[in-house]
């Protein structure tokens, strides 16, 4: 039966990992602006290429 304790600890750790992930994403600002990423994803690759060009030329 005591295997349950180990299982529980493992499950808690996994869930805790997800919680950390969530808190991290909040801290990172992913929840600050919920609108622009939805639009940004629809743009063609052109945008990214240009930005990397800029970085390269720098």
């Amino acid at each position: 039966m005591s295997v349950i304790i180990i299982l529980l600890i493992v499950s808690l750790l996994i869930a805790g990992g997800f919680l950390m992930g969530f808190l991290w994403s909040v801290k990172d600002g992913q929840f600050d602006d919920q609108k622009s990423p939805a639009h940004r994803i629809l743009f063609d690759n052109e945008l990214k290429i240009n930005q990397s060009n800029i970085k390269n030329t720098k």
Partner: protein, 805 residues
């Protein structure tokens, strides 16, 4: 691009109607040179994707641009206030761009490095309408970054108020943390408790059970001491003000649940109710979050400073020096460009001034100011460069004096919500039931059952259900209002909306459109040549009324005018094609064509015969008369305007004879009038206004609603902002808010059934954690489903749903 016909009549850039076909580039037609310029910049930089993503995505650019408009950004002192980070290569700056409205904007602004090579990267925050720009300050300057933004049609909003708030506005993330943590703890405590629900006692190993319980207890700590803190602080704040708000019984129930569970677990008497406790905290926090998703882009707290520019061009010994506005002193000579707001009281010394005071005083027609005359702060110069001598500095001008009124410094009084009152009686009832049940068991000598009964009664009877239905309903109502472009400062306003009984309206900019007047001709039929003669004479005059009629006639071939004479404030006369034409007021002409007082009139006489008149009247917003008809049935109305009384008959007709109508009112008089209605007549007043001149009245009223034109975020301090296109729906919004109150009460009564079931077990002292753990989510889910369903149904009922996209 499928509809070529639409393109030929609508501006390719902004979608406004094209009046003359002169402005075009390639096969694209534009409404104004500003729009064309933006298009040409984008075309030259290969950024025309902008127009492919959305049709006509631009914002109208109908203003002339000055080359040195942003020269003040070369001032290092001002630069330091705007730039929030800078190393030896790059600088970072955040601008607020109210024009951001679609994915094209986002795309263009994130590609702005194509327009200005010195920009390293840019990132848009759509929700806040902000753009974060990193630029290389060796290649470009702050001024040129702003000029590039302005050049493509996104003029950054730079103002006194925003300066000093470095790094843009910050979002509060604590609620996310709280929800995340309470959700995690709730789910895990639930998992630990699950075993207990299905297995009878003594089957589970003692060690395992102890482990389960201690983990649950451990997990409940962050819920109580972190996630739930806002309930405790709010309850404490209420107590300090000698007032029991709804958070008090909630906080009390949380504490008792925790203590009781702690006692049970430590003594091995049971499992406690930690799962229910953390669950309810989780649901309540989500409710609060829904309710508080207010509108980040809308500022409800603007004062006059937000409307004024940051800096002025001061001329000192022939040199133009950009100076921060607070440092401009009396007797300085300043330059003001067209479409700029004059932030100080000043005397005109050079230039041709046509000042639009509609925002500060409510006068609908622009005023012509002669050299040597005083211009009050807040007026907007319409076209041309002006030089002015400052009379009073910004903080002492006529306009800013209004903000010295105590109303602006008074703290908002603590308003008692009806739900708090219900919550209070609820608490009393619960305490009474708990006490009676306790006494009953004490009489029978069952001390253990007595404690069981008292504590569990307090646990199940927590008015969380009321709080939940209130939060979820208000949250959804705010969301529906937001979709319909009616933005409220906070959820409390919904409840206050249902209590108003008098509405005060402003005229200019609220009922009427800010731009444009109706010009109408009444009189004998006149042919093209006579019209052209009249237009020729009108062109000689710079009076605003002449300009309006001249624009209305829209004739370009001008004849010569001889012996032109302008009598100030009266009219004009002259000889055109051997005819003596006089145009002016009834007094000037000595008669009228049509004897009805309505609007501003220009009477035309040719060779001494009155042939007709041009009537200039305000353009009313769409649906205004429908709105007033519907409001009239339920509320008493009055209108208070800073404009002259030319529209009196029309307004009186619209509002009805019993309504008060006032004209030529100062901002202070507006404020006093609202105050008088409140104190002498005990009315709950809603004020609807738009300009700075309504600021005092908006603040004083129980609910101040500001009307904003689309894309214009510059509204005075208010409790709510309504888009002018939706003004006609205002009554529907109010009725929706009233219905919302009923929804809250209905869902609360339904969910109270769960409380009664819980109480049934609780008074007997046999409420087990299982029952509590079943009742709590059932009640919460019922509330969420009901409030959502009912508000959605209501929005369909009021036809508010189709505007979702």
């Amino acid at each position: 691009m499928s509809n070529s016909k639409a393109i030929s009549t609508l501006c390719y850039h902004c979608g406004n109607e094209v009046n003359s076909n002169n402005i075009s580039s390639g096969n694209k037609v534009f409404c104004c040179n500003g729009c064309k310029m933006v298009y040409e910049i984008l075309q030259s930089k290969d950024l025309c994707n902008y127009y492919d993503m959305n049709q006509r995505p631009g914002v109208v650019q109908d203003k002339s641009k000055q080359s040195n408009k942003y020269s003040f950004l070369d001032n290092t002192e001002i630069q330091q206030k705007l730039i929030h980070f800078s190393n030896n290569e790059n600088s970072q700056v955040t601008f607020y761009l109210p024009q951001i409205h679609c994915s094209s904007c986002l795309w263009l602004l994130e590609n702005i490095h194509k327009v200005n090579e010195g920009i390293v990267s840019s990132r848009v925050n759509f929700t806040k309408k902000e753009v974060f720009i990193v630029f290389n300050h060796q290649q470009t300057t702050l001024r040129s970054v702003v000029e590039s933004l302005d050049g493509i049609g996104y003029e950054p909003y730079l103002s006194l108020n925003e300066i000093g708030k470095k790094g843009g506005s910050k979002t509060d993330r604590t609620r996310w943390y709280k929800i995340g943590i309470s959700g995690f703890c709730f789910a895990n405590i639930m998992m630990m408790s699950l075993a207990d629900y299905f297995v009878s006692e003594n089957v589970i190993d003692y060690k395992i059970e102890l482990f389960f319980k201690s983990i649950s207890l451990l997990l409940s700590l962050p819920v109580l001491f972190y996630s739930a803190t806002e309930f405790f602080t709010s309850a404490w704040y209420g107590l300090k003000n000698k007032y029991l708000n709804i958070d008090f019984p909630v906080a009390m129930a949380l504490v008792i649940t925790f203590l009781r569970s702690f006692y049970e677990i430590v003594n091995g008497a049971g499992n406690g109710y930690l799962d229910s406790m953390s669950g309810i905290v989780f649901f309540m926090l989500i409710g609060r979050w829904l309710q508080s998703r207010t509108y980040q882009t809308i500022s409800f707290d603007r004062d006059y400073k937000s409307f004024f520019p940051i800096a002025l061009n001061v001329i000192k010994e022939g040199v133009i020096i950009p100076t921060e506005i607070s440092k401009v002193t009396a007797n300085d000579v300043i330059q003001v460009y067209s479409n700029e707001i004059i932030p100080v009281d000043a005397i005109l010394s050079k230039g041709y001034a046509r000042i639009d005071y509609s925002f500060v005083s409510g006068e609908s027609l622009p005023i012509q100011v002669e050299i040597g005359e005083l211009i009050y702060a807040g007026g907007k110069q319409l076209d041309g460069l002006l030089e002015l001598v400052v009379v009073k500095e910004v903080s002492q001008s006529y306009l800013t004096n209004l903000w010295n009124n105590p109303v602006f410094n008074k703290k908002q009084p603590l308003r008692h919500s009806a739900y708090d009152t219900i919550g209070k009686y609820f608490t009393y009832a619960v305490l009474a039931i708990g006490f009676i049940a306790g006494m009953y068991w004490l009489e029978l000598g069952e001390t253990k059952l007595m404690w069981n009964a008292i504590t569990t009664v307090l646990i199940v009877a927590c008015p969380c259900a009321l709080l939940l239905s209130q939060n979820y309903t208000n949250g959804n109502i705010l969301r529906i209002f937001g979709l319909n472009k009616f933005y409220l400062r906070s959820p409390e306003i919904i409840e206050r909306l249902s209590q108003i009984n008098h509405i005060v309206l402003d005229k200019t900019g609220t009922l009427t459109q800010t731009k444009g007047s109706n010009v109408k001709y009444l009189g004998k039929v006149i042919d093209q040549t006579t019209q052209s003669d009249i237009a020729s004479l009108l062109k000689q005059s710079s009076h605003p009324a002449s300009k309006l009629v001249s624009e209305f006639l829209n004739l370009h071939n001008v004849s010569d005018v001889n012996n032109f004479k302008e009598t100030e404030g009266q009219g004009i006369e002259g000889w055109v094609n051997e005819k003596h034409i006089k145009i002016g007021s009834p007094v000037f002409i000595g008669g009228e064509y049509y004897q009805e007082k309505q609007g501003t009139k220009l009477i035309v006489s040719i060779d001494g015969n009155i042939i007709g008149e041009y009537i200039i009247s305000n353009k009313y917003r769409f649906g205004v008369s429908r709105l007033i008809q519907s409001l009239k049935k339920k509320y008493t109305l009055s209108l208070i305007s800073g404009d002259n009384d030319t529209e009196l008959t029309h307004i009186q007709e619209l509002l009805g004879k019993e309504s008060d109508v006032f004209f030529n009112q100062s901002p202070q008089q507006k404020l006093d009038y609202v105050q008088e209605l409140q104190s002498a007549h005990h009315l709950n007043v809603m004020m609807i206004g738009d300009g700075l001149n309504d600021s005092g009245a908006l603040k004083q009223s129980d609910i101040g609603i500001a009307v904003a034109d689309t894309g214009n975020n510059f509204t005075p301090s208010s409790d709510g902002v309504i888009d002018s296109s939706k003004l006609a729906n205002l009554n529907t919004f109010i009725q929706f808010a009233i219905a919302g109150k009923k929804i809250i009460l209905i869902t609360f009564s339904i969910s109270a059934i769960y409380n009664i079931i819980g109480l049934y077990f609780a008074v007997q002292g046999i409420l087990s954690p299982v029952v509590a753990a079943i009742l709590m989510p059932c009640s919460s889910i019922t509330i969420i489903a009901l409030t959502y369903g009912l508000t959605e149904w209501l929005s369909k009922y009021y036809h508010l749903e189709e505007i979702t996209k």
